[in-house]
Amino acid sequence: MNLYETTFIINPQTDDATIDRHVREVADVINKGQGKIHHEDHMGTRRLAYEIQDLTQGYYASFIFEAPTSVLPKLQRHFKLNEYYLRYLTVRFEGNLEKLIRPAEEQAQSPKEKPAAPKDESDIDVGKGSEESLETAESPETEKIQTVETEAVEPEATDESETETPGDDAAEEQEL
């Protein structure tokens, strides 16, 4: 039994009930395969970074679940067979499930009991709030980046192509 996270995009050009049904179908596949869903996230309709089947928006949802590996091909099959799933990606979940399930409360209660956990807990806040800290830090950075951009376009391109090795999640990737 491993922890996985599957994220998928549903074609939003239908009614809410249908979208919800498509989300539930995924849950059913997991449950029928002896999987256990620990966390569910309906991110809702979001703008797509690039058009998929001429659509500019998609309905995002994700599940974090524990399941035997046999569930993965079943999931894959389900996504492939139904054209209303625009994209899907199933990966091993590497984040902290505890944080997702039990947000911040613990840190206030037991700072001594688990010194590490409350510390991390606050991080999640920082993580969300970190946008500000990252943001503030960014403005000088963007300037730098632009400077570099102009004088070092070549090496940067090389950098990217190096990092751009296929493999990792590409396996999960459907035809793009």
């Binding site: 994220t7 690039y50 991080d123 990217e160």
Partner: protein, 75 residues
Amino acid sequence: MAMVKGKKICRFCENKIDYVDYKDERILRRFTNERGKIIPRRISGNCAMHQRKLTTAIKRGRILAIVAFESESYR
């Protein structure tokens, strides 16, 4: 190397962020340029570990159309 002023710190270490979420559009965008390319760590100042996690997250984000593979706004 004129722009190497002051010490670069990894923002993820600084904020004690361990997991880089590939669904977090804002984080992914912050570390890609206008063309959608991953900003190298010599510029962002990220540590090797976090840059690795970030790179994975950005690539996953691209698959899920959270960030673009590339944007044409170039040339």
